[in-house]
């Protein structure tokens, strides 16, 4: 793999914080390279630091040590506004609890990130419709989140994550709140996005079945990233 194809590069990445007078090391000296077109599943028990790593990749949180470059950018050097724009253009984020805006329709939810682009209203509408069709919800454009099933909500969230055509998709337990059938649908879509559209995906999951959709699985334990292929002790 060449350096140009490295989408995420972390070196000695560390995140420490103090909670209720206790010093907590959430992530310690993590080195990781994720390359373009990879679908990486981050696994580990609760508190192992997998979500923390995902948040650092998305610049939703800052490391207390080490460095991280995502899509060639040193996120620490960017201002709040620059990070917001960068995230809008380059990262699609999928949450465990979908996090759709309840007062907006599926189409409007998917259109939201496009409000920050230069697209006109018609173009935004076309892009959002295409994204929803891609996840199989072309017939649910005008539905509000409360009118959709959990699986459908998560598919709307995926459409929202891909509508700006980002290079990187980050998913935090995307199947955690879904039944088996819906979870399988979501994983199929993610696999398709990776295989057919070449999207780089980093997915945090507890679920070994979900992790099988990924092309690579990495395990974390007590804030440390285990070597490739190594599983946690317990």
């Amino acid at each position: 793999m060449t350096t140009e194809e490295t989408v995420i590069q972390a070196r000695a990445l560390t995140k420490e914080f103090v909670r209720d007078e206790f010093h907590v090391i959430a992530l310690q000296d993590v080195d990781i390279d994720i390359h373009k077109g990879e679908f990486v599943a981050l696994m580990g028990p609760s508190g192992s630091g997998k979500s923390t790593l995902l948040h650092l990749i998305a610049a939703m949180d800052y490391a207390t040590g080490g460095e991280i470059r995502v899509l060639g950018e040193n996120l620490r050097a960017m201002s709040d506004g620059e990070i917001a724009r960068w995230r809008n253009h380059n990262v699609g984020f999928i949450f465990q609890q979908f996090n759709l805006i309840p007062v907006l329709t599926a189409l409007e939810n998917v259109e939201l990130p496009l409000k920050l682009t230069n697209l006109n209203k018609q173009e935004r509408n076309d892009h959002a419709t295409t994204a929803l069709k891609l996840v199989g919800l072309g017939d649910r454009l005008g539905h509000f989140p409360r009118q959709l099933s959990g699986g459908q909500e998560q598919r709307v969230a995926i459409a929202r994550a891909i509508v700006t055509d980002p290079a990187l998709i980050l998913a935090d337990e995307p199947t955690g709140n879904l039944d088996a059938a819906s979870a399988q649908e979501v994983l199929s879509i993610l696999s398709r996005l990776n295989k057919e559209y070449g999207k780089t995906i980093v997915m945090v999951t507890h679920d070994a079945h979900a992790a099988r959709s990924a092309t690579k699985v990495r395990h974390l334990e007590k804030g440390a990233l285990l070597p490739e292929g190594q599983l946690p002790a317990d």
């Binding site: 948040h55 998305a58 939703m60 949180d61 709040d80 506004g81 917001a84 724009r85 995230r87 809008n88 253009h89 984020f93 949450f95 609890q97 996090n99 805006i101 309840p102 007062v103 907006l104 409007e108 939201l112 990130p113 409000k115 920050l116 929202r160």
Partner: protein, 388 residues
């Protein structure tokens, strides 16, 4: 581009009970303010409509009102032939010697009686007030105890209705007509024959004032100067418009009180809006976090919640305007502290007053919304996403 307005509109609709209660709180504050403004505007309209810029009012030097002034018949004879005074079709100088006093009449709102201005004047005084129209009955006849009452007096004082008989001075006076003076203060007066009134009140020589009409505005100014500098007359003159303008000071105490109450209510309404918006920010913390993850900046979040607060207040402002709209044109009365008599006038709610009310509401919304909006904008993404 900002977060779509539909997001804010729909959130206001979703929590409709809170929205309506907060908007009603703001609406009541706006309604109180607008009522006061409408009252003051109505009073001001009554006074400004009363003053003809060509008319010069002559009173005793130092007098602020016709009631406390005196002016002799001799002085009137010297006055009416001054240069610059217009003449009527008959060639007579347009100068009206008048006597002004107050009588007490029981009113609808005050059965114990309120002071009402009684004006004795000659036919030329009526001729000079072109706005006057007899809406019922006829004008009084000279030498008789007959009165014509203003429209507002007829409406507010049952004993002064057409055909009634009033008792004041040395006898009983027949109400023979009702006059309509447009929006002017004459609607709150009773007119009668100058000589009959002065005789009944034993003031045949020393009356109250004189009203003269100048041929043009330049002559009016010259006439004011001339009279003020005339040592023989020892009188003060000013245009009728200036005289009535000075009486708008009657509205100052009620205006102050109204503004004071509005200000206190405004603080309460502003806190209500603030409370509502703080609750909205707390309830939508995860949405705020999500919007930030999608790429919306802190500024966009601040603007969105700020706009939502302003929209909420705007609704309150519009409701407030609707609440006070039925007051428009309603006649009320208050004591004129210059003439010690009641002046009746109409509440006046025009577009400018309503715009003031809406602007006031927007300011309340902006004040109440800024801090919650700032709190929303300052939320860290992860903290916001973890809030339930």
């Amino acid at each position: 581009m900002a977060i779509p307005l539909s997001y804010n509109f729909r959130n206001l609709i979703v929590r409709k009970t809170t929205t309506i209660m907060t908007a009603l709180g703001i609406a009541l504050t706006v309604a109180v303010l607008l009522s006061i403004l409408a009252l003051v505007d109505g009073l001001r309209t009554a006074f400004t409509a009363s003053g003809n810029p060509l008319h010069v009012l002559v009173m005793r030097k130092g007098s602020d009102s016709e009631l406390t002034s005196n002016f002799t018949r001799t002085g009137y004879q010297d006055l009416k032939f001054k240069a610059g005074i217009a003449r009527n079709k008959a060639g007579e100088p347009m100068a009206s010697l008048e006597i002004v006093t107050v009588i007490n009449l029981p009113s609808v709102t005050n059965p114990d009686g309120s002071n009402v201005t009684l004006r004795g004047l000659s036919p030329v005084g009526i001729e000079m007030r072109e706005v006057l129209r007899i809406s019922a009955g006829r004008w009084f006849e000279t030498g008789k105890r007959e009165v014509v009452v203003g429209r507002s007096i007829a409406a507010r004082f049952p004993s002064a209705a057409l055909g009634q008989r009033l008792r004041f001075g040395r006898g009983e006076w027949d109400v023979v007509g009702i006059m309509d003076a447009g929006k002017s203060a004459n609607n709150s007066e009773i007119f009668a024959d100058l000589n009959q009134v002065s005789s009944d009140f034993q003031r045949t020589e020393v009356l109250s004032s004189a009203l003269v009409r100048a041929v043009d505005p330049v002559a009016a100014a010259a006439l004011v100067n001339d009279i003020n500098n005339d040592q023989r007359l020892n009188t003060g003159a000013r245009t009728e418009a200036e005289y009535y303008e000075s009486q708008t000071s009657s509205a100052v105490p009620i205006q102050f009180l109204g503004m004071f109450i509005s200000a206190i209510m405004a603080v309460g309404s502003s806190f209500a809006a603030m409370n509502t918006m703080y609750a909205a920010v707390a309830r939508r913390a995860r949405e705020i976090g999500t919007l930030r993850v999608l790429g919306f900046s802190r500024g966009s979040i601040l603007f969105s919640f700020f706009v939502e607060s302003v929209l909420l207040a705007l609704l309150g402002g519009i409701l407030g305007c609707l609440l006070v709209l039925p007051l428009n044109g309603v006649t009320t009365g208050m004591s004129n502290f210059v003439t010690f008599s009641e002046i009746a006038f109409d509440f006046s709610i025009g577009p400018s007053i309503m715009a003031t009310g809406v602007a006031f509401a927007v300011v309340l919304g902006a004040l109440g919304g800024f801090f919650p909006a700032r709190m929303a904008a300052k939320k860290e993404i992860l903290v916001a996403l973890r809030e339930v």
